[in-house]
Symmetry: C2
Subunit: 402 residues, 2 copies
Amino acid sequence: MPPPPLLLRNVRPLGATAVDLLVQDGRIAALGPALEAPAGCVVEEGGGALLLPGLVEGHTHLDKTLWGLDWYRNEVGPRLVDRIDNERAFRRASGHDAAAQSLALAKAFLALGTTRLRTHVDIDTEAGLRHLEGVLRTRDAMQQVQQIQIVAFPQSGLLGRPGTAELLDEALARGADVLGGLDPCAIDGDPVRSLDLLFEIAQRHGRPLDIHLHEPGAMGAFSLELILDRTAALGLQGRVAISHGFCLGDLPERECEALLARMAKLGVALITSAPAARAVPPLLACRRAGVTVLGGNDGIRDTWSPYGSPDMLERAMLIGLRYNLRRDDELAIALDCVTEAGARGCGFEAYGLAPGCRADLVLVEAQTVAQAVVARPPRRLVVSGGRVVAREGALLPGVVPA
Amino acid sequence: MPPPPLLLRNVRPLGATAVDLLVQDGRIAALGPALEAPAGCVVEEGGGALLLPGLVEGHTHLDKTLWGLDWYRNEVGPRLVDRIDNERAFRRASGHDAAAQSLALAKAFLALGTTRLRTHVDIDTEAGLRHLEGVLRTRDAMQQVQQIQIVAFPQSGLLGRPGTAELLDEALARGADVLGGLDPCAIDGDPVRSLDLLFEIAQRHGRPLDIHLHEPGAMGAFSLELILDRTAALGLQGRVAISHGFCLGDLPERECEALLARMAKLGVALITSAPAARAVPPLLACRRAGVTVLGGNDGIRDTWSPYGSPDMLERAMLIGLRYNLRRDDELAIALDCVTEAGARGCGFEAYGLAPGCRADLVLVEAQTVAQAVVARPPRRLVVSGGRVVAREGALLPGVVPA
């Protein structure tokens, strides 16, 4: 049942002049001065607040989070393999519940204005499809109020544990939206075989790809070229995303720009958490080249890392800090990474503040977009698909079925 | 008039077992289980909350901030000189009020638990001592509840504008606590003459030094050596601090370590905002070498930068992110930068949670120190010098004289 019409009075879309905004059938129907409220319409007084489109999380791991649980004491070693092994041991010992945990975090995201979200979900021969089943339950529970894209992610690699490919296959058959990949050299040790198999699975299901590429420098560039070769050969323009892509932050400028030009031509998006502690892809050069760059937390409060937050305005601020974006026009880029570019990179449809778009709306007390990014003000109101779902940072009762 | 005795029941100092904490005459008198409340004692129930010592801001610019004003649209160019010139033009046009602005931000710091604070104050031939006078008023107003150290800071350089040295001299005579300096090569263009003059002024007043050193790589290392030479020659062990010290993040490891060893020997502290967008001094190597590293925001919401926050737990988090501190024992280091090491580096006395220390206390809802850093929970209670000054992030009425 679609929600009743909703009229937001006196709101400033992305800081522009105040208007009224009318929502009908869950979509934005009109924006303009002094709109008339149709019969049965709910009216919300915006009070001149800043209006943002629903925020977009481009890369997280809902299934791993310990959000809301007792504090996890992190004593993990520094290598990638330490973190993978530690997580596996933790799960064995703790009986980690991916359904409950992913739901808790998805709700926290929604309360802070994130209405669309891409999450990777671990698929491996130890956990099987248990995490997927949990996150599918969360996706169902949130269906009306949050669009969740699930990436079937081989956290332990694709080749190392026989049976993983079959599990990914089954994950896609069961409803995962995207196929994930991971470091074909550094983790799988056989990049050609790894990527050939990965692309073959994606092709069989007609699904897009989102590949974690942590590999640095020349190794990462090598893997990236292999990925781009297959994207071109298989006609997957606009269907492949690279997560992290740290190598792009290590390369000589010309090599980097050649890769970016190729990515842009093939519509390969780049998803970054903008980590402060390592080289990152050059955001402004990516955008100049025509590569869509979107932002994400990566893991939030899990055995990998204690950091992260379901507040995507905080992620925009961290992107701004990482890339030294100080001017107002630059801070608009930081916001873009968690709004328009986020939606475009993930392929979320009917996104934005124009008539016809899904009515995913966030009201905050801020004078400008730049202020919203640096101050991360409380979310006064969150609307998803035309429904008021949260006020003052708290979900309304009944928004998510019990 | 000293505040009445105060008994905090059931608090966990830095996450340790719950105790009671008794404050008398503004100092911590005792910690232990089930302490008895003396006559006339105010009792606060801690409910098992985490107890932190008052937070310490090691480097900010209270006089520059636009905190609480209308949003400032930043359209500034990228160079240091662009920012200096832009600020000067802004001040001429806006009639910026350093007294009101510094007070607003100092109060925001206190409400979030910062009881000790070092601020640089611009001294130049255009503003004269106007900023100093403003911040001196703020220091007076906050005297009972916040210790503010004022650094007389030649933002436009020491040599370029004749009359600056005399103004610094006067600033110290009028009550500035510390003498500031700035890039003796890059800004002053004559490092030997600049530093000789700077140290001469400091010596004349018997004041410590805190020198902004943005200069990168070899140039910064050269200036740093000159500073250390003078520190040694004048017997200023423990009286000199370097702010930023970016060069330490650029140098080959051995050169860096040689400088750190010398800094440690001379008791030269390093103050960092841990910026995400550039090379930074190696925190762990500094600490291993015996160099005290403390944290600060640098400017907050000013014409230089829109970023920054009076929440020093957020600064600790940003330090943690910049240095990839993920383990609980590492996050304790991030907190140290805004607590113990902060106080030590600035020379704030009677600091800490031991009997005899000034009762500067912060209660937060967190299980561990690590959680306090990454979650930055609301400040349930802030005590300064034994007085309850803030609850739930808001100053109590009457804490700061109107």
